[in-house]
Symmetry: C2
Subunit: 203 residues, 2 copies
Amino acid sequence: MPGTVDFWFDFASTYSYPAAMRIGALAADAGVAVRFRPFLLGPIFQAQGWNTSPFNLQPAKGRYMWRDLERLCGELGLPFRRPEPFPQHSVLAARVGLYALDHTWGEDFCRALFRAEFGGSSRIDDAATVGRVLAGLGVEPAPALAAAQSDPIKARLRAQTEEARQRGIFGAPSFVTVDGELFWGNDRLEMALRWANHGGDAR
Amino acid sequence: MPGTVDFWFDFASTYSYPAAMRIGALAADAGVAVRFRPFLLGPIFQAQGWNTSPFNLQPAKGRYMWRDLERLCGELGLPFRRPEPFPQHSVLAARVGLYALDHTWGEDFCRALFRAEFGGSSRIDDAATVGRVLAGLGVEPAPALAAAQSDPIKARLRAQTEEARQRGIFGAPSFVTVDGELFWGNDRLEMALRWANHGGDAR
């Protein structure tokens, strides 16, 4: 029986970008099913007393992160252009992402929005950006944006963020196997896929 | 001409343990020379207003780290027993490490002390532990411990820690190439070795 991994991400999270671009092919190779689960890191950071990304609160770590992300994208052949401001407000993106993932084009939407943000330096809090990404997938923007701002989607995003916290998630991307094993960071994607298939016997 | 990587580590740093155990063979395979450079993370953390490890300040991240380290050690076949307390005071270890690295048995000392700490849950702030590790390498403990507590070694450790800060190091392990490229974390060891040999053309 194939394993399943929940892929928890925030659209504002830098390392969620390479993870989102890599996970499809790697999971297919591993025979693991993936569920894309957008959530909001903001409330989790705020509960720790942080009012912005730790990459802004710790300048040396932040400078490093941008250089590291640039190198990573270079090795992966992914376009990279640093978005301003950082972090982007990701509430709109997460709501549209949740709505999109009820449809066959949901994962394509997530990848295209990440690419617009970190590959094209587009603002994801701008409905024009999100609409352009939707249109690029052949989806009419106005009804999708309206549906994404509905009360049921808003409530689902709040619940999803609360579930992330309850699962012990403190950063993004994170990967969680069906038996609750947590893996944090783009660097742990391969290990998460091994564990999804073999549990503690993964070597 | 072979590349060189400076391996910056703190003996109290959890992920410095697998990095120290892995770097020798990987660097030899890559044809890269490595310089072991112990330093103290404490002053760098204190400059950020932290009085202990971020793994203690952020409980969810700390819980995750211990589980992650246990899994990593399992995959690498390294013994793992969580040391108490955490973090250990690593001043004595770093001084003896600096002294040791002036000798042919220096890297063996570093690996053996990491193994005692994270594989055997021994206290590295205890001269008895350090002495036992020295004796295991055929080194007479008392003169080595005395030399390591000399003023010149103390001054070198302070200078080394200041150099780490100036190089932008904010955590351990870190790897720095001769052209100043910084890589943070055990997960970046392989990439650092590629960059040491090929610079920005590493793929």
